[in-house]
């Protein structure tokens, strides 16, 4: 039987959730045995080459590219998991949600105290660039998400236990320490 296929991506996140995935320590060797990676920063495959079993999404959606990637993941993954606070709630990037996007862009590129090099006074407008969304959206507002792993980042043990449970079809072991946050 071929190994289950795993894909991962970081949208509007800090890569901390991926770091946490690496934090499973030597179990990373077991993971390699357990699954095959497809599109993921872990193996640097840039586009899907096949249908995957599990997709892990770090980060919410702050621009049009995030939306396209997320929809692509939904299409190619049978099970989609929101990994961490940013994917589930928008997280730190969503701090901007209370401020109109126009104001954010103006401050970032035109009027902010650290703006010194933008001598042409433009807000980046190259058609190649992704377009900013009016606010940062959690993933479940854009596509259907099957599971949520809370935490910032979710603990390595939680990620590991989840993957093992899904792959082996066993009950997940969720001790309090793994999902408590205070």
């Amino acid at each position: 039987m071929s190994k289950p296929v795993l894909a991962t991506t970081s949208l509007a996140g800090c890569f901390g959730c991926h770091m946490s995935l690496l934090d499973i320590d030597d179990r990373i060797l077991d993971l390699i045995e357990l699954v095959e990676f497809n599109k993921s920063p872990i193996d640097d495959i840039k586009t899907f080459t096949k249908q995957c079993d599990i997709g892990l999404i770090e980060g919410g959606c702050c621009n049009s590219e995030n939306v396209h990637v997320l929809k692509d993941f939904r299409k190619h993954c049978n099970i989609l998991i929101s990994l961490g606070e940013c994917a589930i709630m928008g997280g730190l990037p969503a701090m901007r949600n209370g401020i109109p996007i126009k104001e954010c862009l103006r401050e970032a590129y035109l009027t902010g105290p650290s703006v010194t090099a933008n001598t042409e006074h433009i807000i980046p407008n190259d058609p190649e660039l992704p377009m900013m969304l009016d606010k940062v959206y959690p993933c479940q507002e854009i596509v259907k998400i099957d599971y949520y792993l809370p935490g910032c980042p979710p603990r390595a043990d939680l990620i590991w236990e989840t993957l093992v449970a899904l792959i082996k079809g066993t009950e997940i072991n969720l001790p309090y320490e793994v999902i408590k946050f205070d």
Partner: protein
Amino acid sequence: MKTSISNIIDRYGNDPVRLMDILLDIQDEIGYIPEEINQKIADQVGISKAELVETVSFYHFFSDKPLGKYTVYLNNSVTAEMMGREKVKQTFEEEAGVTFGNVSSDGLIGLFDTSCIGMCDQEPAAIINGVVFNNLTPFRVKEIVNSMREGEAITEMFKQNYGDGNNSSELVKAVVSNNLRRKGPVIWDPYTPGEGLQKAVSMDPSQLIEEIKNSNLRGRGGAGFPTGLKWEFCTKAKETERYIFCNADEGEPGTFKDRVILTELPKMVFEGMAIAAYAVGAKQGVLYVRYEYKYLKKHLENALEELRKERLLGKNIAGKKGFDFDIRIQYGAGAYVCGEESALIESAEGKRGEPRDRPPFPVDKGYLGKPTIVNNVETLAKVTKILKNGSEWFNTLGTKESTGTKLMSISGDCRYPGVYEIEWGHSIYDILEMVGAEDVQAVQVGGPSGTLIGPNQLPRSLGYEDLGTGGALIIFSESRDLLKEVVMNYTEFFIEESCGSCSTCRNMPVLLRDKLQKILDGHGVVQDIDDLLEWSKTLKISRCGLGHTAANPIVTSILNFRHLYEKRVLRDREFETGFNLADSVRESCEAAGRTANI
């Protein structure tokens, strides 16, 4: 200007506890509370500037910017919407040349929304420079704005007679109507000030509490806590410096009966406070009144003054040696949550109206950390009558568990909106007949924090056995879109009024609102309805009743009108996003000057 501000602060003995009064007076004097004077106020009352800003920034009617020579606060409650608020609002905007939330460029007119102002039986209504204007129409709005342009004084803009009863008295002069439709046997039984109090002082305090307990009187503010028991708890508190608070915050949309009591029978309420004071040995009382009823200030102060002259307040009250008690009036500044008893106390201490963790309850640690009784206006008025006529008499009215009467505030789709005093035990059906309501689709019992019930529940009866209520009934006819017009409005109300302390209450109603909007926009699925019910449960861990009930409009409408939701959701799929990429990138593309390529 500087001297006048220190004078104002002086007036209140430089006491930080009186910060609300100080800020209200400054706002009256200057029209707003300029940031530049924050440090000065803070220094003079001896608190930090941060503490001062905490208070100033909390209340809806305090502003750090000028709000216009004429400041219009137009009520945005459901009944206002039902009675034509949208056209009134539009006319204000067109005539004043400014949109809501702003002040016209010449500084003449500021237009703002405000939550329910306690006039649901005479909507649309607005408060303009502290004065209530009711039954507004586009025609009236044009006249009012014209008068503003001509610089008329606000009280000269009335084009109608003053309201009935004391509304037209010299000290009130308001166009507000009592709409008192039914005088019941308790509140409107003939009243001579002092009769209740005389009876009270002829007993000893423990006998008096026994009498209240025997009456089975329960709090009329909504929660229905037994009044005698509350008083008894207070007498058991260790500290002997104790306070009596009367809760006249009346912020629950759809409730306006306390306004009518305070207009017609303020002494009955003050007398009830004095009786409570005698029961627990309090020397000082506070009537906490919502800002929206500021027009009653002189009238209420006058009632206190007369009671002092009649020796029913002050020293050796009602001829009882050593029974000293007096009352001060504390105005709020626009915050529904201040009706919650511990928030009310915080506010009366000059702080943000944030509810406290309970326990300790106010009867143990309330105002200034001392044992405090908080009772509703109507509860205290009833206390006076129970003393006068006896607990046995009170028990003959109403039902076994719900003795006496209830003042109902009735509004919405009916011929005779207003205030009715009825005995407990009537069915909703009876009441609808009484007020002339036809084609009833739904009734909101108890305001937004209560329950939305449908026609099959009209036989249910009013009383603690079944539908306990603070007394608001809002009626919706078949023509109303319950989800869009009612549930949405109520949910927005809770979002606006949350004090923001608890993450649940700060966030969940927003998420619920957005989900409801998604359903209204035609992007809902069945799962969304279930999510609404499931997510609402998290609100139960909030600190106060506001959070606990913030999802009630959504939850009770799903339980009783699920078909209205089902009708709007897509049944052929499991998931549907409400997200639209083109819409969400529009603004940023505009800012960058690029065309969106979706």
